[in-house]
Symmetry: C2
Subunit: 222 residues, 2 copies
Amino acid sequence: MKLEKITREGGRRYHDACGAAHALDLVGERWALLVMRELMYGPRRFGDLRAALVGISANVLTQRLEGLEESGIVRRRKLPPPASVQVYELTDWGAEAEPIFQSLGRWAARSPRHDPTLPISAISIMMSLRTMLAHDRIGDFALTVGFRFGDDEFVARLKDGELPIEREPIGDVDVRVEGEPAALAAVVYGGAPLSMLTIAGDVAGFQRFIGLFDLPPKANAA
Amino acid sequence: MKLEKITREGGRRYHDACGAAHALDLVGERWALLVMRELMYGPRRFGDLRAALVGISANVLTQRLEGLEESGIVRRRKLPPPASVQVYELTDWGAEAEPIFQSLGRWAARSPRHDPTLPISAISIMMSLRTMLAHDRIGDFALTVGFRFGDDEFVARLKDGELPIEREPIGDVDVRVEGEPAALAAVVYGGAPLSMLTIAGDVAGFQRFIGLFDLPPKANAA
DNA sequence: CCGTATCCAATAAGATACTG
DNA sequence: CAGTATCTTATTGGATACGG
C-alpha cells in the first residue's frame, strides 16, 4: 500500500526566472551534481555510483536518479543481453553540463581550504585534466595517454590544442599509466615523483604532458 | 544564555578532493549561490538581499552570510559616516565566481522546464546580458546603456567585443532604459515590444543591442 | 549483487515573533 | 532596519529489511 508515490514536485524551489536559480532547482539538491559527474564519461551501474560517491546512501542515490531522470538529465537503459544489466547515463543535455563542473572546479581550486589529499574518483581526476589544461602552453604537442584505475580505463588524446577523454579500453596509445586516482593527482598537481605510478611507453612525453596542468594560485587567505 | 554558538563546521560535507565537490562544500547549501549572485555588482544591505531573494527567511540569510564570510567569499563592512550602515560584499575571490553563474545559466536556459515569466531581480537580468551575449555578432558595434530599475542603476558599456556592467549612477550614456527587470527580460529574450520599457536616447542603437542576445534552443524534450 | 522500501535520528530550512 | 530566538516541518543519512 504505497501512498504518496509522488516525487515531491512542488518541493523546495526558488521561484526565480534567473537561469542559475533554475539550474539549482534542477541540480541543487545534495549529491545531484556529483551523481552527474560520475556519469560524465558514460553509463554506470547503481553500484558503481554508490562506490564512487563515498557517503551517499542507497535511498538518496535512488531519489537523485529518479529526480534527474524526471528532469531529462539522466536516462536509464538496459544493456542488451548477455549483459542485461541496467545502467544510468546522461542525456545529451545532461552531458552539456560539463562547463558547470569546470567553472566550479576552477573556482574552488583557489579556495584556501581545498584539500587535494582527500579521496578522489577516477572520473574526477580525468575531468580535472580537461579543466586544468593550460591551453596556451600546448603548442603543437600531441600525445595519446591511456589511464587505468582498477577496472576503469580511459584514453586521453591531446591533439590540436584539445584534450578529448573517453572511457574506453586502452588500445594503441603512446603511454599507459596505471595507479590510484589520488596518485595521479599527486603527480600532476603536487609534483610527486612519477614512481607513484606505473608507466609504460613514452615516459618523457608523459613528463611533458603533466607539465601542461596547473593548479591556480590560492586566493588571498585574508 | 546561548549555548552552541559554534557554526557546525564539520557538518555535512563531501569528503572528496574533486574541485567541484569542494565548491559544493563551500556554496552548495541552499541559497548560498543566490546570495552571492545578489552581491555580484557590489555591496548590499541585509534588507536588500532579503528583498531580492524572495522566499529566503531572515535566519537562513544570516546563516549564509556567516558561512560565506567564514569561507572568505563574503566580507562585511561598515560604510563610513554619514551612511554608517553595514553592508556585505564579495571578496575578490568571491567575485571570481561569475563563470559559475554563467555556466549554470547557459545550461539551465536549455531546460524544457525553464519558466522565464517568474520574477527576476535586477542583478539577475544584468548578469544574464553578460551570459547570453553573442560575442560573434558584435562586430565593432559599441553602445553605452544606462538601466534603471527602481532605485538601482546600472551602466553597460558594449565596446571592443566586451560588455562590462557596473552598478553606478547613470551618467553620460547613449541610451537610458527604465522599467521592471521582467519587462527588460521580455524585450530582450521574448521579442516583446520596446513599449514595455521607457527608453530615452538612441532607440535604434538599443534595438540593435537587444539583437545581440539569444536564448539557446531548448534541449530535446524527449 | 541490484536496487527499492521503511524506519529512525540528526540537521537544515521555513515561518514567525521578538529585541536592540 | 538588522538581525536573533524559537518552533515546526522537510530533507538527509544510516541501518536494515526485503524482493528480483
